[in-house]
Amino acid sequence: MHSIPLSYYLILSVIIFLIGSIGVLTRRNAIIIFMCIELMLNAVNLTLVGFSRFSGDQAGQIMVLMVMTVAAAEAAVGLAIVLSLFRNKETVYLDEVNLMKW
């Protein structure tokens, strides 16, 4: 049944998480940064499901449901914020959003 060992899931999720965080740090488009953050959250979901499957404990899968719900709420708020920024400034590129710095 457990033909694929747990470590495969963990390594894959580390790789996806790293791709996501590198994307957040290097890209400048707010929407793409947000997509990279979603990628990070899904890497976490993979870890949770993997651990849950191999330990037989259901709590991890419940947590995945919570994460997906919260991520949906976050997406709604995040896109609204991007929209209100675009209305005032006509850009979604963060390097053009630089009123405040010291």
Binding site: F34, G60, M100, W102
Partner: protein, 474 residues
Amino acid sequence: MSEHDFLAIAPITTVAVFSLIVMLVDALVKKNTSLMQTLSVVGLLGGIGVAIWTLPKSLNGFNGLVAGGGMTNLFDILFCSAGILTVFLAKDYLERLGGHFNEFYTLLLMATSGAMLMAHATDFITLFVGVELMSICFYVLAGFLRRQVRSNEAAIKYFLLGAFASGFLLYGMALIYGTVGGTGYADVAANAATVEMPFIFWAGVALMIVGLAFKVAAFPFHQWAPDVYEGAPTVIAGFMSTAGKAAAFSAFIIFLNSVYGSGVEGTDRVQILLAVLAVGSMFIGNVTAIAQTNVKRMLAYSSVAHAGYMLIGLAAGSPDGSFGIIYYLIAYLFMQLGAFAIVGLLENEKGCNLTFDDYKGLSKRRPGLAMVMAIFMFSLTGIPPFAGFFGKYQLFKAAIGAEMTWLAICGVVASVISVWFYLGLVIAMFFRDSEEKQAEGGTLGGLSTAALAVAVVGTLVIGFLPQAIYDLLS
């Protein structure tokens, strides 16, 4: 399901229910602003009442998902007090800046209930839901003046960095869950000492510390704080920097207690890590604050330093340390919220009038405000007999008790650095005259006066009667 379950979350339920009532009133009743304000204050006072009522009990609810009573309820009272002060200050400020929408009160109450859920959480699932409930409300509130680009900018920076940090927090939770075999803190306390993969467990703890350090704006995860506090509406910046920080510290304390309490080997490394974060926050925050010309940014950088002082309590890892953090957070609530309240009063419609130059000669133009601001500045510096001094005293005492005297010395040195800019503002207000005519800022409304009075009284009472507060807390 027993009554214990519902008693444990009773303070949260009260505030959450009132946040929904406020939302309904907004939809159903016309000309409802003062009604919504009243209901918000009633809801928050109700939260405080219920929290005081369940304070002596020690409750565990919903199969270990939440706890209640004791320290947790103290945090509830703190969040609700910050909420009430913010409601009092909000109306004048938002009307003057042309952004008085009624959703403000719903969002504020929801953010408060999220913060309370963080303090009550004894399980990763509830902690995550609490963090996100509070943070998502803060993202919206930071961008609340939606016609100002500055506010939009604060919201988008806060949103992207906050969600990024949530990713780290969550990954840490997932790794700890996998190694200890459960999502509860009880599982951490029971199994951490015997985990099969200690490396993954410690990676999880480190990632969770990263996520929470971001939420308290500690070095090196503090970059968002100045931009967000500067761009966000000032009353919200005050609320975020007090209640938001306190919520993250409550989660920090309860989580780390379960790790320290598990008897797992290597907690001393966590303490060293936290000590490094504390020293970095104190020095980077205070030194960068010196370079600021904008008072809001100065307060933001100094809030990084205050997070550093409180991290000393975590690094000490003793009950004394936790006590010191709570004591400091109560003092910090009054002085920081009060300082932001005055900055908000002096701010004019275009979001300026915020530099040190604008504060020159304030003692001649508005002597009362200058006097009160000076009290908050002395308290934030940590000059006796104001509240900040006794907070720092408790934290440094905890560090010495945990044989980390060097950390206490660093804290004292950092406090001395902070004299430069806090007293710099006082000197600008009292001993410098401005050449040009200054914009006057807002008039002091009745509710704002009440909130300021509460903040001043709080700062003075904690300062002059430290023993009474000490007895009350213990």
